[in-house]
Symmetry: C2
Subunit: 510 residues, 2 copies
């Protein structure tokens, strides 16, 4: 074998999954958070949110939840679902939340830390449609759902399976959680999310987690292994399925990501400060509720404030307002010393330049705002209505570049390179310098999607733009996909449970 | 006329130039600079750069420059062009540079401030090729050159004519500076750049500036009205044409932007710390030279450190390394209390997603690093080898979004909106709230390129991606272009001068 083909072979092996990428890694953000709001203004938002909880209150639609809150000292209106909260109750409860915790995967190398300097990136979740350049846009289906799982498993910066990358609409609702969760477990060994869509579904998926990990209840509580995302029905309302999710997960010490969806001008005030005050009220009361259920249960402060397009009323993402809200939400989360969830999002209808610059606006803000869990970071399109295979790869490059930016610069005698500068001297060049030759192979970030060849070479080889290259790459990744190991006993037990629950009719729609 | 068509008419008028855009504005960056390097490490780079200047020195190829430097106390090698500098000489000289200054345009509304919290965006300069989707890529020519000037004049965030947006190669070199500068003055009323390509060209353009403004030498010195960009011939060398530019502009108190082009792995060490130490040495000595020529002359610290693609040796831009270098260069410029020039750049061959995400990496870093003059911020493609009409519009959107991000969030009783939140109450919506209706027309950023319509509407109306829309927009802007007023006396005098100098043969190639 020639030296060149040996090198090529080695590159293929180390690259893995048909992709030239960095190894799977737990990332840290070494830089200070970027704070755009003064401490006084952060306090003003904090105060406003407490006034909302005291004076206006929040609707808790689940009787069980209101009973618990009343027992904890909240002021529960006997004639409605409204609950008001004295500020001490909220702040005491939130102060019980841990500042950091792990979520573990069945492959311990994929377990992740949330809090402190950690930063983790998750694949898109929940769009009703999927698209690629070959077949266009279609309603979400199980095949596309599984292909996104395979991509998520193969792409190292996709660290979290944050739900259904696309909704597998062809699986009947009562059994979808069973079939989809089994697919997540079979196709990936990364941490994953459970949907809070009613009590029975939550209990089913918790059971599947225990079966896969061979855990009893105590072990699960000891070792958080699944998480859920809870959206308030903004403004100021928590519905029954979401509250069951919060109760069942908090009880078992599994993380709850409390994410108000406060679209300024629609479900929240048109002014960003007001939308953030409302977001903060909803996030605080959600996190407090989890602590009241189980003091010390892991929670994450979710920020998802954006603005609507006032011409159409449709949500817009990756806007300047979105970026500001993202940075300020990080300041608020740090005020309460809890981990922070943000997102990388855009409103484009196509995996084009707009999708890239809007996602970058969101991604930079999420990173600078010290997001610990950055959702939708790979594959999101159309304000969340579509999961794009090409965008998944474009995002993988953008996220990987960001993780490279987070590697601190080494300043040392060797990197300051005075000897090399002296050796080369004025007017020379560094291509052949020993200092260069020793380092050039690993000195710089190597892109997975970006094409840095000169125009003529690029033109001759087909003039593919980034989206066309992403199309080629995602197909090659799917072709080379290898499923992760899964213990055969666990697989059998899992199948047995899922088959039984399907035979029982799954979890009927409430 | 119906209310709707009146509104449409009004929108057309206020938009101007066929573009829905924000008005021309002087921007400020209200946020703290984002610093990724510790003060100790910044000092280590500073120290290394002084050691380079003391121990290795810099080649000054112009005899005149070496004479001046010798008189100022530098150690000039009698047998070569090498000059070494004791650190006190450098630091004393640099301390004379102003921390801020204005560059004035003939339209006083277009004059700009450099330094402090100011931030200004410039169009691309100097690519040898131009491209658009209709006609593809072609060698730079005068027609494209003029069209880019018209775009620059029409697009408000293009605040600076930073040179030839594309090189008008069809104009003979000896007269190109005359013809091109006249076109800049005729087609725009924004501040512009003079190329330091030999003494005679510099003197010709300075004369044209004086004619246009009806200035004598004293007035020009009082009111800096043109600037030049000087690249070191890295490593550690200043050539004759650049030195003449520095001398003639510094003498006349016109700003010199000193920008080493330190590509790590090629003209600078492969390690970023070393490349930055070299950049800093070259920038310091360039700025010091201008101060030695004329103490207090305005200078700008230019950072342009990136890395090469080690497979091809070609420069790469908008990389993670580029972003780090950009942020750290800002820290260095602030250490010397001089304004900072950075750039928004990419390596893509097409105005696609790659061009957008690489430019965003550079743009965010330039803004966070408190760049005062952000070059190449509109239209740059292919690592600077091509000016793209579509990319110009894509960049205009990205820059305008960034300027919106720089508007500080208002936190007040009115924006915290507690009354509106109370009025709407849990479970309601804000679309019809008085608080919303009073504000919704101006509450949020309105994009010029981004398409936020839903997928179905977008599909029905042609499914244009951002690049196709940018193509349509730039053509409409060119169609509606109106030249700015120019005093008829100045126009005649300018034509007389240019015609005379052309008849004389212009400025022959040295």
């Amino acid at each position: 074998m020639s030296r060149r083909s040996t090198l090529r072979e080695r590159r293929r092996q180390t690259a893995g999954a048909g992709l030239r990428q960095s190894p799977f890694c737990r990332y840290e953000n070494p830089y200070p958070p970027f704070e755009i709001l003064s401490a006084d203004c952060v306090e003003a938002i904090h105060e406003a949110s407490l006034e909302i909880l005291e004076g206006i209150g929040v609707n808790f639609l689940l009787d069980e939840a209101r009973r618990v809150l009343k027992a904890a000292g909240a002021e529960v209106d006997p004639d409605s679902t409204r609950v008001r909260f004295e500020r001490g109750l909220i702040l005491d409860a939130v102060s019980k939340a841990p500042s950091a915790f792990d979520i573990s995967a069945r492959n311990p190398e994929r377990s992740l830390h949330f809090g402190g300097r950690s930063i983790n990136f998750a694949a898109v979740s929940s769009p009703p449609n999927a698209s690629d350049m070959d077949r266009g846009r279609r309603t979400g289906n199980f095949e596309d759902f599984c292909n996104f799982l395979k991509l998520t498993q193969s792409v190292n910066v996709a660290q979290v399976v944050s739900g259904h990358a696309v909704e597998p609409v062809d699986i009947e609702t009562p059994i979808r959680h069973l079939v989809a969760t089994r697919a997540m477990i079979e196709h990936t060994d990364k941490i994953f999310r459970l949907y809070s869509l009613g009590r029975q579904r939550v209990l089913d998926v918790l059971e599947m987690v225990k079966i896969t990990r061979n855990f009893d209840d105590a072990q699960l509580a000891e070792d958080p292994s699944v998480f859920t995302m809870v959206n308030a029905n903004s403004p100021l309302q928590y519905d029954i399925p979401m509250l069951w999710g919060m109760i069942e997960l908090a009880l078992r010490n599994q993380p709850v990501v409390v994410t108000p969806f406060t679209l300024a001008g629609a479900m929240a005030p048109v002014t960003l400060a007001g939308a953030l005050a409302q977001q903060n009220a909803e996030a605080l009361v959600g996190m407090a509720f989890c602590q009241i259920i189980n003091s010390g249960a892991p929670v994450i402060y979710g920020g998802f404030t954006s603005n609507v397009d006032m011409k159409s009323g449709a949500p817009a993402f990756g806007t300047p307002e979105y970026a500001k809200a993202t940075l300020i939400s990080g300041q608020l989360a740090r005020r309460y010393n809890v981990p922070y969830r943000s997102s990388s999002v855009n409103s484009s209808n196509s995996p084009d330049a707009q999708s890239a610059y809007e996602s970058q606006m969101a991604l930079w803000a999420a990173v600078l705002g010290h997001g610990h869990m950055i959702h939708h970071a790979l594959g999101w399109l159309e304000g969340g209505l579509c999961a794009s295979f090409e965008k998944f790869i474009i995002d993988a490059e953008m996220v990987q570049m960001m993780t490279e930016l987070l590697k601190p610069l080494e300043v040392s005698e060797s990197t300051l390179a005075l000897d090399a500068i002296r050796e080369v001297g004025p007017g020379g060049h560094f291509f052949g310098a020993a200092h260069t030759l020793e380092r050039y192979e690993t000195a710089f970030y190597q892109p997975m999607l970006s094409d840095w060849r000169n125009f003529e070479t690029w033109l001759e080889s087909g003039a593919e733009d980034a989206t066309k290259r992403a199309n080629r790459i995602f197909k090659s990744v799917l072709e080379l996909y290898q499923p992760p190991p899964l213990d055969e006993g666990a697989r059998e037990a899992l199948n047995e449970f899922v088959d039984k629950r399907i035979a029982e009719g799954g979890a009927p729609i409430n």
